[in-house]
Symmetry: C2
Subunit: 323 residues, 2 copies
């Protein structure tokens, strides 16, 4: 287990955290030392380039590019292994975005998947992942949570790590090793927040191969947690998905095939030349604890009532291009 920084004593001596002109969450993040940022390995990125849109334009700076960060162990590695194989096989090139359901998901994959005669063959060697991999052992995290909840409370400065959140869908939730997770006594699982990427599937016990993916474009559909695999999150270019025209077929599928958005290519980041380096703010840092506390208790001048709490999906892990 990684040790967690307990370097917050100085904060308790500073002005009360509810003082006027308290920093906003963004200001706290902007002041983070370089050592609080963790660089994401290019091999843990999935880069999706969309074909030019209907009027022939892409963006002024090139194709519409969506960058996805894949999850580290212990989460969803069976599906992520499949996704690496699909990307290495260039399997998604020429597939399409087929579904845009408002306040729910954008989904992409093989438009012919439902028709065996037209379906694109999957590359060999994909794993069939069992349902119990929707969650992981929480044995590492649980002592931390129990310890934190015994002496901490949201809204009581100074913030200590980790910031444990009240959650309608879990016994507690928190940001942990870079990802939002829900927990119960024995298990933990990644949660469906805006921009998270998951694996489409058929009826259970099917768990999906990873060839059909979606991202969340509305209120976190947390009822999907532990029912469907999450494999990553969009870290750049989300607007190219969230602003697409909504589909008007059942479940938001495009009725007219011409409305589908063709995918030019999906590659692992280490196969893409000129890709910027991306970093996330360490969720084990003192900066992150202060940021999460400020998200739960807005004391910057625009606000008059701090909430005394936050939804896990309203404490997104900050991501940036490396400066």
């Amino acid at each position: 287990m990684k040790t967690l920084p307990i370097a917050l004593a100085a904060l308790a001596l500073a002005a009360p955290a509810w003082a006027k002109d308290a920093p906003s969450p963004n200001e706290i993040v902007d002041a983070a030392p370089a050592s609080d940022w963790v660089t994401i390995a290019p091999s843990d990125l999935l880069v999706m380039d969309l074909a030019p849109d209907h009027d022939g334009s892409s963006t002024s700076s090139g194709p519409r590019r969506v960058v996805i960060q894949l999850m580290p162990p212990p989460f969803s590695q069976g599906w992520i292994g499949n996704i690496r194989k699909l990307a290495q096989a260039h399997w998604w090139d020429g597939t399409a975005i087929t579904r845009v359901q408002d306040n729910y998901v954008v989904q992409w994959g093989d438009p012919g998947a439902e028709d065996k005669a037209k379906a694109r063959p999957l590359p060999p060697g994909l794993a069939t992942v069992p349902e119990n991999e929707y969650s992981s052992s929480a044995s590492e995290i649980w002592p931390i949570i129990k310890s934190a909840t015994e002496h901490d409370a949201i809204g009581t400065p100074p913030p200590t790590h980790p910031v444990i959140l009240k959650d309608p869908y879990a016994e507690a939730s928190l940001d942990w090793h870079g990802w939002p997770v829900g927990t119960d006594g024995g298990r933990m699982w990644p949660v469906h927040c805006y921009g998270m990427v998951g694996v489409g599937r058929d009826m259970p016990p099917n768990t999906g191969s990873g060839a059909e993916l979606y991202t969340v474009i509305g209120q976190a559909p947390r009822h999907l947690d532990r029912n469907i695999a999450l494999v990553g999150r969009v870290i750049e270019g989300m607007e190219y998905l969230s602003s697409l025209p909504r589909g008007h077929g059942p479940l938001g599928f495009y009725q007219n095939p011409e409305h589908r958005v063709p995918i030019a290519s999906i590659r692992l980041g280490n196969e893409v030349s000129g890709l910027p380096a991306y970093q996330y703010l360490s969720t084990e840092s003192g900066t992150f604890a202060r940021y999460a506390d400020a998200r739960a208790n807005r004391r910057d001048p625009f606000f008059i009532v701090p909430a005394s709490g936050a939804d896990i999906c309203n404490v997104p892990v900050p991501i940036r291009r490396a400066p």
Copy 2:
């Protein structure tokens, strides 16, 4: 205080609610008797017609129309009175959507508002609403909540009314008289869910006039609850707002004025000819209690793990055109 239907005894005699092939939330709503639907008065609707988009097209069926339901008392009536006056004065005609911030809000109003020389004069007689109207007395609702939480638990069928939800931003939340509300011991307030419409404002103690409005297009920004007035929700045409191109100026404002989306008109529903009748599912009905329970515990065949809870913003009040 309205009496609440306790007509659920029959449900307890039916098959266990977690049985295979349990109905989905939508199936429960589709089976509601006509008497569970409440017709919305046209005078409580605000109808926004957008000008045709850049390539000259609107939709095949006419202008891009967004229909908003205004809140009833006791919520936000000071601002809603202003909004009625602004609509009656046709004040918004020729204003524009000026801001689209991904995973946050779409905002509209007078593009010249920041420049006194260019600002469009407001109609006379608008109220200045005090901050304490961000919330209302909960004296009517509190005994119901206390009574319900003492003998109910989410996930324990049969569902009883009201379904009280665990909430990171409130002591509890529930759908009440047609609207999602948060509560504490003494107060209740409407909450910022996807599609809710609120009043832009300057720094406190300014509370906004109602001339500048926004709607939520991402994860519920619940930290705004009690900090900003909510006045209604989009009940039709949400996609014409949520799928707009994102702005790239600070806070998602469009940097290029040509990217703003002109508003042709905003009218109260009783001034619009040919408007359909809209209805919402009574939140005091037995159907709604079963629907809310099913949202919190998905037992329909796609799901393998019911959540045992739900976020208030994941229990949206069903709305339909009257059949």
